[in-house]
């Protein structure tokens, strides 16, 4: 399906060589001030050709709003938007088309549809993410306006180069149960709490840790010079998310977040909070004890849960990591087979991104915004309905605790 969300619904379309890519956003609250520039700024961050580390193609990618607004205010009706494709002709045939590209979607699209776009993997193209970024920017504008929500993603790893202590993942086998404190240093936790998009954009790798950013650049250049590619990890933090979001059972907050992130092309892994490393830490150290926050509300002393407990947000920062594999398109020759089984050798034509994670940053932010927005609307529906009922006076204190918030 090409639709994301239950109440804030984003439906996208478009391949690499058709007339345009775009989306219909259905369910945006009415009365939101929204200009094309709110969207364009994130499209520009996604666009190729922003630095010498990425592909030199320069897509203009101007957003054209079609409906759902008047005088830069949303009407509550569907917002349609599109971005024209520069090259709208079907791809010309060449000898390389005899081969399904390894680790691409050429083969699987053909298996699925019995036909494929001339350009290959069709909707699996990175071009499709234009629509997500545009839709996410609208959700983000609402969340920022109504709740002050902040969504900031950044590159935390390229290949084996990582921001120090950014990886809460399993370490070597030993009897030291303190793994988690080692893994998320005080410095990194501070970064999560304060990092801004301005800081992220100060370096073309979108890594806000300057020394690491320098090393990442060298690693990417090494891949480029070898006609090869390299993957990486994007870390994202969402701040000021209201508590109570996420649906019990199948649509837990982290489940929908994982779904959204793994739907981005080239992703292979997701972890929230302590992630894989959290599996190594005993409950006594991993549990997040409750404390009273400055605003008088309950908060947690640590946040290994990553802002989600029992699948529902608790008001703490939500942070998570997404692994992007190395790009499949490389210029060096690869031994592989043709569609008909004939063995041969394939080398990609043209120039290609040796590393996509810097450009993935706004895509991750967009998908994160869509997840929060949809879950917020779902919770609004219930919260408002409950608030219209008379107060409950007959329940034992185990069910509505003294000091706990009443039906909101």
């Amino acid at each position: 399906m090409s639709t994301y969300g239950h109440l804030f619904r984003v439906t996208t379309y478009g391949e690499s060589h058709c007339a345009s890519v775009g989306a219909i956003i259905d369910g945006c609250p009415p009365g939101l001030t929204l200009s094309p520039e709110d969207i364009q700024v994130q499209l520009d961050r996604r666009r190729p050709g922003q630095s010498n580390l990425t592909t030199p193609r320069n897509e203009k990618d101007r957003v054209h709003l079609q409906s759902g607004l008047e005088h830069d205010v949303t009407l509550g009706t569907p917002i349609a938007l599109l971005v024209k494709n520069e090259d709208q002709r079907p791809h010309d045939y060449s000898e390389t088309d005899l081969y399904p590209r390894p680790s691409h979607a050429d083969y699987t699209y053909l298996e699925k549809y019995g036909i494929k776009a001339s350009s290959g993997g069709g909707r699996s193209s990175a071009r499709e993410t234009v629509s997500r970024v545009a839709a996410g920017a609208i959700a983000e504008k609402y969340l920022k306006t109504a709740f002050g929500v902040e969504v900031v993603a950044f590159v935390s790893s390229v290949g084996k180069i990582s921001i120090p202590s950014s990886i809460p993942s399993p370490s070597a086998d030993d009897d030291n149960d303190d793994a988690i404190e080692d893994a998320l240093s005080e410095e990194f936790r501070k970064l999560l709490a304060t990092v801004t998009r301005e800081q992220v954009d100060q370096h073309q790798t979108r890594c806000p840790h300057p020394e690491t950013a320098e090393r990442m650049t060298k690693r990417i250049i090494r891949a480029k010079e070898a006609s090869d590619s390299i993957g990486g990890i994007v870390t994202c933090v969402i701040r000021n998310v209201p508590s109570g979001l996420g649906e019990p059972c199948f649509d837990k907050f982290e489940a929908t977040l994982a779904h959204a992130m793994l739907s981005i092309p080239a992703t292979k892994a997701f972890e929230i909070g302590s992630g894989f490393r959290g599996t190594q830490v005993p409950g006594s150290k991993h549990n997040d004890a409750f404390v009273v926050r400055e605003d008088g509300k309950l908060g947690t002393k640590t946040n290994w849960s990553g802002g989600v407990q029992g699948g529902i947000t608790n008001g703490e920062d939500i942070y998570f990591r997404i692994g992007f594999k190395s790009p499949a398109t490389i210029s060096q020759a690869q031994a592989t087979a043709q569609y008909d089984g004939t063995p041969g050798s394939l080398a990609a034509r043209g120039r290609h991104d040796p590393c996509v994670v810097p450009r993935a940053v706004p895509i991750v932010e967009a998908m994160a915004s869509l997840v929060v927005m949809d879950q917020l609307l779902l919770q609004n529906a219930r919260r408002t309905a409950a608030s219209l009922l008379p107060p409950i006076t007959t329940l034992p204190p185990t069910m509505v605790m003294p000091g706990a918030k009443a039906v909101p």
Copy 2:
């Protein structure tokens, strides 16, 4: 929402102390031979009290089928099933109820609903997974009957104890690009290709690697003796899945798989194929070259993609890992705050599972089966529709390649 799936739809209900837990499975194909025993066998694997490593409570958990079958054959209509709760009385109040349990869902349920079940986190209880296991067993029965699909999960890590070479995750920073070959040893790849449930169940830890299983047992006993808990990792492989499953864009196969897995209580992390470690390996080594398989169809030489390319299955084995945090319920006292903010100390009453991953194995298998089943029905809808159209004769060879399958 308490419903999973688009066409094979599972809706579940039930908390810890209500009359029963259960599910309605809507969309099961008609004509499937299905007996209660097909379901009970997996419920028994999920049940607590199977060994001295898990909680000594013994829930009987007999499945009662309500509808959708006659003479052990499915009718195509909704299958309802339920499992009675042994203890159906609301939880009695005690002093511990003054505290939201750390890293539990007591607090977030109250934030979400303004009310909570007397037993605490309501639907976040592990009791809810009974319904999933039952529903998954039905999906699995179909998949096995129609396609010979095999779903096998097992425990690959407990704390820092892991089956050798089972972790395709980031290693230390260095210039060695061969990380991936190190990570997934030939031995482990063979295990993925051949492991059976019988092998998995030979050890109470559900780890099919005997030496590792012994070490895991000791680790769990250590946690138990310390009134503490420990997490772990479940690895799952799905064999014989047809190619072509998975929807482009938002419902890629791995995205729905991640969604399903992260909806299991206590999960924090997911990776498919090469996962996080795949981010460290250059494209030239990570790409899965095409080769002709024994059956004459195209396959891939390696399988770092984990059976999915561009979000669509390619016919290779699908394998993935899920991280489960250490259980939050521990008997030792924890410093934390009451609902009203009063600081104090909380220790769980009763006896608790120090490690849940062995019992998580059938739950992972169930959710995996639901994902494949739903994606299969979605693809059936399209495949059949396309097959009823006349052959296309006007397309250039770039779109329907020589040697590629025609519209199925």
Copy 3:
């Protein structure tokens, strides 16, 4: 699909001869006081055997709540309920099984599934409506508690016997444009505005117009004595529905209402407000002029729209009519063909309802409640989201009119 609704989601199961029929209601607001008796009262109205006009079978139909409540208060989690079937054995084979029953679902179920329940039409059985009535009673309890919504259905026609002036349907061809005023008399409009369930239940036909009720009884007895059956029309009014419900475009309020009503077995027709007769009245007479109501809000002078304009409720009473065909099951012999084409004669065994519309009354009320409830939750989601935005000050008066309500 066996699920109704987007946010107040009802999933049902069960055939005539399985263990039970039942439903899971997902999305009920937390904090609603709800007892089994709230549900039972409507189940008893649906039950056969209430009078000598309906079938003498006496199904006990006690509702058993399984989950989602404690101490008679909803938790916000799924509410499961079931009603046991008295006769749980598969139907015994007999010679009549060689025939697909005319205008029944035997044939179409077999065409759809390739298999059918031994009892015949499976889920098309009236038995399935038990679950709807139970679920609808829960929705109704919420709507009544939070908004004072009143849902009252009654029998307005049996065969050609109708409450005077109750039929806003096309009359003979002439030049008199005043058809609509003729059709809905002042007396009938008053009935719509005031009728109660107590009044409806005073007569076994559930027709609140005594003289008409008497004539209906005779008509039903005539059908019974002829081993035949007769259809009828149910009229329903919903009062105190908030304005603003209904989704533009595909999910207009009346569209979802029609969907819900035509999903009831044996229905063939639906009209809202002026209905078919409204097609005959010029716009100048059909338009509902605006006036100021007693509460100071705008209302309409007439209500030919039936409480819905542009697909969205306007706060006026919603009224509509549903046509039920004559029951297909009759005791007299019918000439028809067997499954294999052999011509023959079929007469139904046992005793059957000659007219189902009196029992359809609580089913219509249930479905009406489900429609309002689901649309209300959808609107809550948007309304709350909009209310959290800062006031709009930049719009021209054409978009937020003086005197019009601001963003709610």
Copy 4:
């Protein structure tokens, strides 16, 4: 929601004065030959200004395909299309904007959203139906190509002028049980079986009965000259629909059909088969006896069911009627109140359609095609899944009858 369908999913956007109206069609089978002309032909039939009976505005309404095709063949990916609005400026303010137009959506949109488009009822505008017609044309192309499905709608009534015997609706109260045979004359049944779009388009009223068409024209002109409007009825027949379509319980075929039809602006009533009049006919006369058809398959002798039994299609022609109210926009002055309650008088500016039913014909055909297409894909999913199971040999003959089709 602005999305129709589960598997053939149509999402639309656009108001009267925005940049464009359009749709994304997700789920179209791959390999369908489709040209813009296939769509344009129906858009032209919907377009205003086709005759002196409709509004003289001439919208060009050229469709622009954006994605999902190459070389006029569908790829299986989303098809986006748009039609530019001629007048893209927000509506200018005038004194008439002080009034909510009677029986329009101005008031209800403001109640729903707290804001409205300057042009008034936003998405309730007839302009929105452009997208439906375009999407329906794609569905129809598939259905015609794969199954020879024919969808033909026509105007059967304007005001009180009707094609003879076209109205199967309740007549006066009497003891004659033969109402149904009177109502649907042999001539009208023949019309349903054979009518073509060419015949329908031979008259500007789109009534294929010449004498009636003449009388309709006069009635419309009378309304026009009186600065008034008049409603009407559209009858539609769908031929060659496969049996087995429609989902038991909530998504019965006729329920989804009613939903689709009542979502068209200005509709107030729906009936299928014998409709309201069927409520007056005893079961013994209303039941459709089975007979062997020429192709050897079972069919029904009569077809009062309208091609649907138990909510599932039986292979007979599907026919139904939709009532459209008289247009709310009229040039004569109407006494009504302003938004702030001030009483006054409102007359519409410009020129308006006195009768919309001729232009509603392609809209009805489009929605009918969408219903069949979506239900077909749903059934494909199940049918294919069932066909992959081994044959059932253990069931009693009551469940898989001799002579009945086996699992397809």
